[in-house]
């Protein structure tokens, strides 16, 4: 787990002149699960969008493997190694299977391979029998499971999770967490999990970082982060105290 996947240096993002994110340095290692916790508006989702090359930083750079994002859009094949499961998933108005197949179709994979991979991915998230169901008929938990299936089917090197289980029932939370842990363990997929649920970070992550007002306050092994935080703001956040 010591090979660096991402190297973030002097990264800054602004929206309408307002500084949203300012990270001096952050290394993300191949095959780790890194949880990024923090209150709403801390810049967590912005960081994920930058890690997925979905927007350009105002300053600084993100190096992913050998590609650097510093104003130049990375090559498509580099961008396609990373994917995100968003908090508010938007599915296409098609069948469940067609939604899961989308990422493979845009890569030009052949139909046989797509059918097989989609069936496997849906089985994995427990929706094998719902393949032909219209996506708009799914419950919230099922939508997030389809979102996870459509992300996993493309076999990403990096899986970015933006509050993937917010507002879900305990059954769906457990199921999604188990799949994420499994994929990380079996395929060494790097996972960056953004959550405001400290318990989830504690359950899943190898390392945990606190992001506050766009700045990285502390990053440490998860056990140390929760048991022996070095920054008083981390202590307050872990305790559930207000830290705004």
């Amino acid at each position: 787990m010591d090979q660096i996947n991402y190297h973030v240096h002097n990264l800054a993002q602004t929206y309408n002149g307002r500084l949203i994110l300012q990270i001096d340095r952050l290394d993300i290692y191949r095959g780790e699960i890194l949880a990024i916790v923090g209150p709403s508006g801390a810049g967590k989702s912005t960081l994920l969008r930058l890690l997925n090359f979905l927007e350009q930083p105002a300053n600084g750079y993100v190096t992913f493997e050998k590609s650097t994002l510093n104003g130049i859009v990375p090559a498509l094949e580099v961008r396609r190694k990373v994917t995100t499961v968003f908090q508010n998933t938007v599915l296409l108005n098609r069948s469940v299977a067609a939604n899961v197949a989308y990422g493979l179709k845009v890569r030009g994979e052949d139909k046989k391979m797509i059918d097989r991979a989609v069936a496997e991915a849906l089985e994995r998230v427990g929706l094998g029998k719902m393949a032909q169901q219209p996506a708009r008929t799914l419950s919230g938990g099922e939508v997030q499971r389809v979102a996870l299936a459509r992300a996993l089917v493309i076999q990403p090197a990096v899986l970015l999770l933006d509050e993937p289980t917010a507002n879900l029932d305990p059954y769906n939370v457990k199921l999604i967490e188990e799949i994420v842990a499994e994929v990380n363990r079996e395929k060494s997929v790097t996972v960056v999990l953004v959550t405001h649920n400290v318990f989830q970070a504690r359950r899943l992550a190898h390392r945990t970082a606190l992001l506050l007002e766009g700045r990285l306050v502390e990053i440490a092994e998860t056990a140390a982060f929760f048991n022996n935080p070095t920054d008083p703001r981390t202590t307050a956040f872990v305790r559930g105290d207000m830290v705004y």
């Binding site: 994917t83 995100t84 508010n88 938007v90």
Partner: protein, 232 residues
Amino acid sequence: MNDLTQGLIQAVQLIFSFDPNLYSVIALSLYVAGISLFFSTLVGIPIGAFLGLTRFPGRRLVMALLYTGMGFPPVVIGLFVYLIFSRSGPLGQLGWLFTPRAMSVAQMIIAFPLVAGFTMAAVMSVNPNLRQQLRALGATDWQATVAILTEAKIGVVVSLAAGFGAVISEVGAVMLTGGNIAGKTRTLTSAIILETQKGNFDLAIALGIILLILSFLTNLVMTRLQGREAHR
């Protein structure tokens, strides 16, 4: 009421008489409407999609111009096209005036804002987060745009129906740019005007009924294009 009944009977008789003059008028009406709709779609859908998906300075102004175009009087567009293609106009040397080409150009200008405007509205109604999520799945900008247009297809087909409805029923611009020449530029609408002026109300009504049937059949095909989702 008597004229209406007579018109209905004559419409049926006309359709089954297979009169070549009638069918040439129908063919020309469909040809001019089809050509103008084809080109306005070719330009209107990409522009509508672009306006619906992107933000740039002056976008509101472009949108206001488009909305104005949606309500622009067709006869004014006809006059504009007439002046352009008239002998002393900038494109007079093309010799398009009083031909189906000039009629198609006028109708394309009429249909374009409707196609672009309704496409823009349809694209804007798709969840704005979808584009980012499709890109996160590895879609290129083009692939994501195609997926969004497919999501908006009910509205996009409405844009085509609106464009077709505007051009097939239009008469002012067609008369000005085509001249209503028998066997050459006479369409169903200009024939209706002519027969009404001649006092042949039953024939005018019969032509009107044929026009309505054509419009209905075309829209029936378009509703098929919208797919099953539109009818749930």
